[in-house]
Symmetry: C2
Subunit: 86 residues, 2 copies
């Protein structure tokens, strides 16, 4: 495996893993006021497109990383929805 | 250009573009309390790795998209730093 492959793997791992502490903080605090709806929706749609890209390329790594990210972004979206009336 | 290429381009455009409204909201409100430091730092490092990946692959699209994203995430990090003492 080349250096490029490992840099890509590290990049994907870091960007996906970053959403674990964020989803945890958001869920625990039940606060997502500082998140922009536009960010959450555009980013969510983008991650869905990355999933489709992974499917089309039959690339399991892209598909897996983006499915995990989508689930974690979903936690933030759900929290913001639940606290809409506050 | 194949369907796969256009899906990838749409995915990259959406995930990068999503940070414009977020950086704008964060800068205008001067509030980034709901963002986790772990998220911002891991995500920032991940985007830096995607930049390096783009350099190694000599892929201008990856390099451009991630440099823009990094600058916008930088706005959120800067805002969170500025409001640390609040």
């Amino acid at each position: 495996m080349s250096l490029t492959f490992w840099v890509g793997l590290l990049a994907a791992t870091l960007t996906t893993a970053s959403f674990f502490p964020q989803a945890w903080k958001t869920w625990r605090s039940q606060r997502a006021d500082d998140f922009s709806w536009s960010y959450l929706l555009l980013f969510g749609m983008g991650i869905l497109m990355w999933d489709l890209y992974g499917l089309l390329r039959r690339d399991a790594a892209i598909l897996l990383a983006n499915t995990i990210t989508l689930a974690l972004v979903g936690v933030i979206i759900l929290t913001k929805l639940r606290t809409l009336s506050r």
